[in-house]
Amino acid sequence: MDSLVEFLVAAFILLGAAFALIGSIGLARLPDFYLRLHGPTKASTLGVGGMIMASLLFFSWQAQTLQLQEVLIVLFLFITAPVSAHMLAKAAMHRGLARRKDTKGRPWKQ
């Protein structure tokens, strides 16, 4: 395998994995639900994105043709992930989950 491609693949893998982890760290350590909501829905998105990039590169290189199948994963995830986040935010607001005291503005009543 071409070392440049291999480097890129490795980099994307590490990038993706790192973002996956960072998102999950956010989920684990941020202090209120609304804040935690940001971790996964973003970092994980790029986490998956990084992996997909790695995969695209890797398989395209292996096959020596463009392999774009994985793009669909990103497409679907980008369509669906905001829905989860939105629905969970609504649920949290409905339940009146506590937000950090210094949060500006206020959630809406459901």
Binding site: Y34, L35, H38, K42, F78, P82, A85, M93, T103, K104
Partner: protein, 161 residues
């Protein structure tokens, strides 16, 4: 034309998806075409209000912008998360909507959620205001302005004008 191809954008999307899934061959191109025509027709009843695509180039530019924003903001958010959470300045921000089309509003909300640091928490019943939760914001007004400028306006052009 509308009868056969009620949702050209969707059909295109489906055809592209089919080709992505199967890789290129003439056979699949044909089969994909068939599906791209049939599936929207079959699911026609589920589309009471057809979103109309008015500006394809604008859409492509918009998508590129969003992707770029996602990448950039991801880094920012990563730093925010890894730093002490105490330094975050979270806020619920209300964004008055200029968009009226449900589909366009949804795309805007998705975009907001996908770009780091913001989550669309809710939309008012009258579709006039959006509630956004922000991870770290200094000036909510500025953020609202930026979102309107960066995302809402292009979307209005793409779907509504």
């Amino acid at each position: 034309m509308i009868r056969i191809l009620p949702f050209p954008l969707l059909s295109l999307l489906l055809w592209l998806a089919w080709m992505l899934l199967n890789g290129f061959s003439w056979g699949h191109a044909l089969l994909g075409l068939l599906l791209a025509l049939l599936l929207p027709l079959a699911t026609r009843p589920f589309w009471p209000n057809v979103p109309r695509l008015r500006n394809l180039p604008r859409l492509l530019r918009f998508l590129a912008l969003v992707h770029w924003d996602i990448v950039v903001a991801n880094l920012t958010v990563a730093l925010l998360i890894l730093r002490s959470p105490r330094r975050l300045r979270p806020a619920f921000v209300e964004l008055p909507l200029a968009l009226t089309d449900d589909f366009a509003i949804t795309v805007l909300m998705s975009t907001i959620s996908l770009t780091p640091g913001t989550v669309s928490a809710d939309v008012s019943e009258d579709r006039a205001t959006l509630l956004i939760h922000v991870l770290d914001v200094d000036d909510p007004e500025a953020l609202v302005a930026e979102i309107k400028q960066r995302y809402e306006r292009p979307l209005k052009e793409i779907f509504e004008c």
